[in-house]
Symmetry: C2
Amino acid sequence: MLLPGVSVAAGDPDKGKAKAGVCAACHGKNGVAMVPIYPNLAGQNQAYLESSLKAYRAKQRQGGQAVVMQAQAASLSDEDIANLSAYYSSLQ
Amino acid sequence: MLLPGVSVAAGDPDKGKAKAGVCAACHGKNGVAMVPIYPNLAGQNQAYLESSLKAYRAKQRQGGQAVVMQAQAASLSDEDIANLSAYYSSLQ
């Protein structure tokens, strides 16, 4: 199995929640998306969420609605990404 | 809200299930991933799953573990993608 470059910071769900206001506009207040073209995030794996946010931030993820997430992720630090990922993975 | 090029075929969950054997190796038999770097798919929005698979197939999605999915999606038709997306979105 190929798992290149996988690393996951611990992440603080409370700090992630505090930062998640803008995310809720599309992904829903509880991580259930408002529009079906966007993914539900509640309960998603933390490591995957981190990997995805970093790929959007690096503009490696294109296609679909990626331009929206590239813009959102541009201002996130590694710590922000760890916290947001911890928060959404903690939701049911 | 930007929703360029959104279109979703109906998709047949039963045909999707029949095609999902290889997906289960990473995403789990019931759409719950075996390894946390991969996403859970159960209950994910159908339109998002379709959009993601097409972005992997077109190699627009890079970064993270994208090379794995690019290879998997390469042989999928639009109908396969619609069916697989319908199947995974139907799981709880």
